[in-house]
Symmetry: C2
Subunit: 307 residues, 2 copies
């Protein structure tokens, strides 16, 4: 035989199925002796509720699906932490799928998630078409982190990129730097590149291309954050004596390597998104979508110093 069912537990405890169901869901209206007996029987049999059956019968699954573009992105990991923290407040379990870098797979992963009939979905930095997101949101409460959609039903939580660039530049300017450059390694151009150019920064895509005159650099991108530091150091330029470095993003090891960073706190983004989603799940589709913008946080460590 496979897994024991509610019925098995009921038989062993000498009660009805419904009573067991009540006990399993922690209903307060079951007499103590009965409850004890039921729990005991369940334990003895090694019973575990079947979420498939429960979800089907209840019309809600208690699942919140999380779509991640890629597990390698440390920013997404931090967002997920925030999601999980906040999810603890609701009666909800997080289940993650990933697109592994390809939009097509991301869409497939999202569809797999939706087939589970989750109570809601969170899309982290989705690369799929806006129309696909909108379609998903039509059938299931949805929140998006790190991308701003014009939508009537999706909650969006994003960092304030322009402010981030401005603050980074301001910090460097305050330290007396005049020659600043922006380093955007990474396969695709960072969404921040535009803001950097607008702010008058020279943008280069490799450390060697940095103008010698630059005494300060703003590096873009989570994954390439500490890479910029090592590249600089190995090129024989001392940091921060010769050149100051600010990284935009939340690279792993930034703290250990003591690099100054600026970024919207990713866990905060996650927390806000989950909070918005949970309230949307509670209030029904009526709730009007929230569009939250989180200010960046500047963590001054030891890679920035006076010019």
């Amino acid at each position: 035989m496979g897994h024991p069912t509610l019925e098995d537990v009921a038989a062993r405890a000498g009660v009805s199925r419904a009573l067991v169901s009540l006990v399993m869901r922690g209903s307060p209206k079951v007499a103590e002796p009965r409850r004890k007996a039921v729990l005991e029987a369940a334990r003895e049999l090694g019973y575990r509720p079947n979420m498939m059956a429960r979800g089907l019968a209840a019309g809600r699954t208690g699942i919140v699906g999380v779509l991640l573009p890629d597990l390698h992105d440390p920013g997404c990991a931090a967002v997920h932490d925030g999601l999980a923290d906040e999810a603890a407040h609701g009666d909800v379990r997080l289940l993650a799928t990933t697109g592994r870098g390809r939009p097509a797979r991301e869409l497939a992963a999202l569809n797999d998630l939706l087939d589970l009939r989750p109570d809601g979905v969170v899309l982290c930095g989705p690369r799929i078409a806006a129309a696909d997101i909108e379609r998903a949101a039509a059938g299931c409460p949805a929140a998006v982190v790190g991308r701003s959609l014009r939508s009537t039903r999706v909650d969006c939580v994003t960092g304030d990129d322009t402010a981030a660039v401005e603050q980074a530049i301001a910090h460097l300017a305050e330290l007396g730097h005049r020659g600043m450059a922006c380093l955007d390694v990474g396969a695709r151009p960072s969404p921040l590149r535009g803001a950097c150019e607008a702010a008058g920064l020279t943008v280069v895509t490799a450390p060697e291309e940095l103008p010698r005159a630059a005494t300060a650099v703003l590096a873009l991108g989570d994954t390439t954050g500490t890479t910029a530091l090592t590249a600089l150091l190995r090129a024989g330029r001392r940091v921060p004596e010769d050149v100051s470095l600010i990284v935009h993003g939340t690279p792993p090891g930034a703290e250990a390597a003591q690099v100054t960073t600026i970024a919207p706190p990713p866990a905060e983004l996650g927390r806000l998104a989950m909070a918005a989603l949970l309230s949307r799940v509670k209030d029904g589709p009526s709730a009007k979508p929230q569009r939250l913008t989180v200010p960046p946080r500047l963590d001054i460590r030891t890679t920035t110093a006076p010019a």
Copy 2:
């Protein structure tokens, strides 16, 4: 109304429910005109199969649950890639949960996974008790990556740690290094530390503690990998001129930073684990457990040079 059901599709296409079910699962024994009509109707209604109902009725869910200790671990991300690659060969969807660093939460996450009645589960570097793993494996095919269990039903795939240390030391020795040290930053001591000590390496837990005499260091741990490099560089020691560095693990940016690494290829671990699991799913619990050990791979980049 909520989501359209099989019945809705059947009604619209003017056929029976069973026929639609066959079409949805791609059965070959449905006449072409009918099939077309059904698919058309499904598309028009925006039908999506309900996995809860399907899983309940079919007795299998097509889900493989993946338990990750922590999304921040780049090694686990790579393992997951391998799992996903191999999973594409089976008719299976990956769903991930995480313990976020705490064994208690990891166990909870595992239980949530098991409640879904997955066709199988993969545990990546689990920190929970062996008994808990064994219990899980009793009800559901299970594979473990990165930890070796003595079990009659769990497949285990691990890297060969001793060989890794040996090869790292051999590589350094070949380059003429005699003073070698091992750097094990990280909250908990690395499982490799023992092997390093056994090999006669001095183990220190902070870069400053490295003996000046050491001309080569073996750094342990995925997350702290490039950290070791920056710490060395910023301490004014040139790499590899003054000191050679090998990192054990798969730190993000290792390639970009050109650091020499040694590690079992994590994606390979994942691929093997999923392959083992899928064959176990097919063959039933009868299959005897596989215990696979993957040899390390040495990636010589630019942080190691002759003494």
